[in-house]
């Protein structure tokens, strides 16, 4: 086993972002380790708000890099989300380069996720879509069915729940602040604290079973 930071080469120029990335990697290390032999990829700094983070891979499953924007409001939480995609793609499941979340191999975790109030509410919104959210001056923000369907994709459910799990179990102040902001969205992109307890317990069991715990 190894610290997750050993998997990534940092390509970050902004000192503040670099410090934040190191802190975030440390928060993950406080919760779990990762296996040796994972593909080593860079974390690239990007700018702008049209894409605040990303995990890139090739069609054959090869991991390329993780992107994190210096202009993200929540770079730590976003980074954990993207690293969640990487772990889902290359560290979990029986096939490296395939998303374990979409393979059915994380059944116990997804049983907990699917049973959560947040996911039930997202499914209800998906059924009722399009859904309009009003702002002052009559402006409406309308989310269509595919917006909610996206939030319900297993890869996204895994990455969002992984980010929340790391925030909760590490108790990292910045990650918890980012989580709180995410919990304030009018549709349940993140889980309320009590609603997440069963999901967190399922993550505990998953990581314990993998031998990743106790780093």
């Amino acid at each position: 086993m190894q610290a997750i930071g050993a998997v990534f080469d940092l390509n970050i120029q902004d000192a503040g972002l670099e410090a934040g990335v190191m802190t975030t990697l440390g928060a993950i290390d406080s919760v779990h380790a990762v296996p040796t032999g994972l593909p080593r990829i860079p974390i690239h700094e990007i700018r702008g708000r049209r894409l605040v983070g990303g995990y890139r891979a090739l069609g054959d499953g090869t991991a390329v890099d993780v992107l994190i924007s210096r202009d993200a409001d929540d770079p730590g939480f976003t980074l954990v989300h993207e690293l969640g995609h990487y772990l889902d793609h290359h560290a979990l499941g029986s096939v490296s380069g395939a998303f374990a979340s979409a393979s059915g191999e994380l059944a116990d975790l997804f049983d907990a996720i699917d049973a959560s109030d947040a996911v039930q509410e997202l499914r209800d919104l998906e059924r009722r879509a399009p859904v309009a959210f009003p702002a002052a001056a009559g402006v409406l923000v309308i989310l269509d069915r595919d917006d909610f369907s996206y939030l319900l994709e297993p890869e996204e459910l895994f990455a969002r729940s992984y980010a929340q799990y790391i925030a909760v179990r590490s108790a990292d102040a910045a990650l918890l602040e980012d989580l709180l902001a995410g919990q304030g969205i009018v549709y349940p992109e993140q889980w309320k604290d009590r609603d997440f307890e069963a999901v967190a317990a399922a993550f505990d069991q998953l990581l314990e079973g993998l031998g990743w715990s106790g780093s």
Binding site: R56, V64, F133, A135, D144
Partner: protein, 88 residues
């Protein structure tokens, strides 16, 4: 896809503020949603290889730019491959 309506008389900053007020998302996420509503950013961050052209990377003078947005850059070149997918 995300749609912003009855916003004809608003500046982009006002649109971002309205998205935040309506949904509770962060400012950066509101910027992203506005870009998505205009087709300037993908609706989904999960892209299959066929959609990789959205994120096609071009490397010039040591700076790689994600083509859908001129403001997005990385510090060092990254491999230029047409079958790159992005998930975020």
């Amino acid at each position: 896809m995300v749609r912003i309506v009855r916003d004809e008389n608003l500046s982009d900053d006002e649109r971002v503020a309205a998205i935040q007020e309506a949904t509770g998302v962060s400012e950066s996420k509101a910027h992203r949603m506005l870009a998505q509503s205009r087709g300037e950013a993908p609706l989904s961050d999960v892209l299959v290889a066929e959609e990789a052209r959205v994120f096609e990377v071009t490397a010039t003078q040591g700076v790689a730019v994600l083509s859908f947005s001129g403001e997005v850059s990385v510090a060092e070149p990254v491999p230029v491959r047409e079958d790159v997918l992005v998930q975020g």
